[in-house]
Symmetry: C2
């Protein structure tokens, strides 16, 4: 049974719905674009994530009597004028259409990740939750992807961030997003159970401290996990810890077992990982993997690597779980079309200072060169402009409130993310800021210009009147 | 029915529990301190938060058969040696003792917010979830408190951040934390329902755009909410928007109603809020409140205020919901005591590079001057050192797994937070970085020094042996 998320939204969505209902405007169709105005400076692209969760939310959206009673108890909702509104909530279903880019697709500023076309009543309600889900999951996946991009040729990344994330559920969502972005495992057991993500764990300093000696602790752990022992070697003295691990590795060999790895979680990771590799190799333990951790991100990893550090596995915690250098995306949900009385969809625009939107129902095309690499995206008006040489990124995923595509499995999403990123220019996958070309189609520019002019004229006339544009067909 | 959170933890907690069980070490008592190593540079104090959620978690912690089956299916847990471990999980209850500072209490670096003393088996399991809950809620409350500190003399803050938070549940937790820290309302309806927090909402640009004119939109909204209308005036032209709001306010007056407020969400907020105040006052609408929003935080608020901006209410979103300038706290959970075979609790220490911990069961005393203001905290050994002139911050809240204190209501927590912050030096409540004095007691320093020496000697002897200290009584 899905959890009921109906009230996980902003109060003003409900008051606007009620006001629209009273004004007889709640059945008109509206189209909203969900997009990121400007991707953070420390990202060259975003990795789209969260669609499955978003669609499940839309599909299962209902109001319980208890929730309606709560709303009716609020001071704002006193008055008989809202009776019809509450009746509508009682029978609420999301009946709209949704277009979206696949999870795991790289996207850029101003490109819709998701488009909702539904009766205004419904389209309004879902804004907050959709922004939260798509925004946060895409934030996690984008940070994880950047970490993978900058470590993929020499290390594998594991997600260890649950303790520092903003909620236990945020942690689970981050584990899924990171896995999609190329991480190989998570430490979060609930994420493992819920999504089938491989789980991984080593040991903590407290475990080592719980024994009379480090060696005792290592032996106890290897007895318990003969096939899965990773020994944490930095509780007391790192070099001594490595030597104790070697002692245990040899004992394991004598029992026909193999030590899986050691972990270093403090100190000069470049120096000690190199030292560990050397000592291990000298002792014929080239198969023992080295795991490093301690507030790692793509910059620290690059630095450690440049200093000769050697790690088979990276434990990444805080920096992926909080997307520390960009802890939010400027994700917005903006009206792009509205139904007229005659039933036509009319493009709309918002021109508040510095916040001009793109009108109309849109499609994003990605163009690939002969080398198979993407070199440009073009945002076009859907249905009016077709680009046969480009690949459309948005597909219709929901119609009349029903999911109309086969949802990909997590593994399929992960593979898609991998293959789509391979098609990006290499310059986008490093640490250096680089821009990718995103153009607006000529039709879109024309209609946007018309709407801006029309809006300004209306404002000059003192009406604050809505902008309209000529129909383009 | 509480949700089951048993698997919302790191894999390694379970493997360590299993290894300890196999080594016959899982029933020994361990004491763990949960604290923040160093509070972020952009905070002068932290506001403790999350205790109620943490205690409910401990109280209700159980493993379902389904969860145990999942664990048994993992590669690491294959083997008969873990049978007794799984049997223990089947009967799992948290039976430990917990000491904690009250929610809403200001705290500083290295001061335990929470202390867990329980059989190692239990104390280990709960680390990850407790860190997540106490860490994230304290992070939210601390950011919110800083915003309130820097706006409290002229504006009230409302929490509008759901859309940008890292998960819908993080948003609800943030709404509660912000309310504790002095915010007056939230836009999150689920938080309103769950915790009884006042909810608030205005309208979005899309609502205004949905009508033929701004005036039509304003009229429709005021018809629906005669007592609760806040009009968003910046969809087209702000000054014109203010004048349209005045038209509607006058119409409302003629019906015996009053416009509650207007909101400005873009542009030069200092300029336009002042302009709005003037025009409203000139029109006899001094009672109409002004709400401003748009990525506000304590720095922007101070800036707007310094430029003569006037706002009765602040809509605070992203910056509180993501604690943008400090999106995590370095919250840790460290072993401070362990039971010996003879049943005595022995102080323990961790001396990894740059991460030395404080041994022993501790109490934090706060000292107040004649003016009622706090001037110093002292971290002492609990039971050994008493400070009659100081106020102890840690109280025992759980014994044998049962909550033994009456949990305060949300309103009581909010009042406590307000009164405790009033006792802080004013210098801690502004934007300028200022340090508060936190001392270690002489006993604590002695025992810490002994343990460091003993650990170093053991390491020199090549044993990686655990440090012990003489008993202090």
């Amino acid at each position: 049974m899905e959890k009921n998320h109906a009230l996980e939204t902003d109060m003003y969505q409900l008051t606007m719905m009620a006001a629209n209902e009273l004004a007889g405007k709640s059945n008109e169709l509206s189209t909203f674009d969900l997009f990121v105005r400007r991707i953070p400076e420390s990202r060259n692209y975003l990795l789209s994530c969260g669609l499955e969760e978003a669609l499940n939310y839309l599909k299962n959206l209902r109001f319980t009597e208890e929730q309606i009673s709560y709303l009716k108890s609020l001071p704002a909702f006193q008055g008989e004028q809202h009776e019809r509104f509450f009746e509508k909530l009682r029978n609420f279903r999301f009946t709209g259409d949704v277009w979206a880019v696949k999870e795991g697709t790289p996207i850029f500023s101003n490109e819709p990740l998701l488009i909702v076309r539904a009766p205004t009543f419904e389209a309004q309600l879902v804004e907050t939750y959709l922004l939260n889900i798509i925004g946060s999951r895409t934030m996690f996946a984008s940070k994880a992807s950047r970490i993978v991009d900058n470590s993929r040729f020499y290390s594998q990344a594991m997600e260890f961030g649950t303790r520092r994330s903003h909620d236990p559920e945020a942690a689970i969502a981050c584990a899924r997003a990171a896995y999609i972005a190329g991480f190989v495992a998570t430490s979060n057991l609930e994420a493992g159970k819920r999504y089938g993500i491989p789980v991984s764990g080593t040991m903590a300093h407290a475990f080592v401290m719980g024994f009379a000696s480090e060696l005792d602790a290592f032996r106890a752990y290897s007895n318990a996990f003969p096939k899965n022992t990773v020994l944490l070697v930095d509780t007391y003295d790192i070099e001594q810890g490595i030597r104790n691990a070697i002692t245990v590795a040899k004992e394991m060999e004598s029992r026909g077992e193999r030590l899986l790895g050691i972990r270093i979680d403090s100190g000069d990771l470049a120096h000690f990982s190199r030292l560990a590799r050397n000592i291990l190799n000298e002792n014929g333990l080239g198969y023992v993997k080295i795991v490093i951790s301690n507030d790692l991100d793509e910059i620290k990893i690059t630095d450690i690597r440049s200093k000769g550090g050697i790690a088979d596995m990276l434990g990444i915690g805080t920096m992926v779980a909080t997307s520390n250098d960009a802890p939010h995306l400027g994700v917005v949900y903006k009206l792009s079309e509205q139904e007229t009385k005659s039933g036509e969809m009319q493009p709309r625009i918002k021109i508040s200072e510095g916040k001009i939107t793109l009108p109309g129902l849109k499609q994003v095309y990605r163009f690939y060169g002969r080398d198979g690499r993407a070199y440009m995206d073009e945002i076009c008006l859907s249905g009016i402009e077709e680009r046969k040489s480009g690949t459309p990124l948005l597909e219709k995923v929901m119609e009349g409130g029903n999911i109309i595509v086969k949802m990909p499995t997590l593994e399929e999403i992960k593979i898609h993310a991998e293959s789509e990123r391979k098609k990006l220019p290499d310059t986008l996958r490093g640490l250096t800021p680089n821009k990718y070309k995103v153009e607006l189609s000529s039709h879109l520019l024309v209609i946007q210009t018309q709407l801006i002019e029309s809006a300004k004229a209306a404002i000059r006339n003192g009406q604050g009147h809505n902008a309209t544009a000529k129909k383009i067909k």
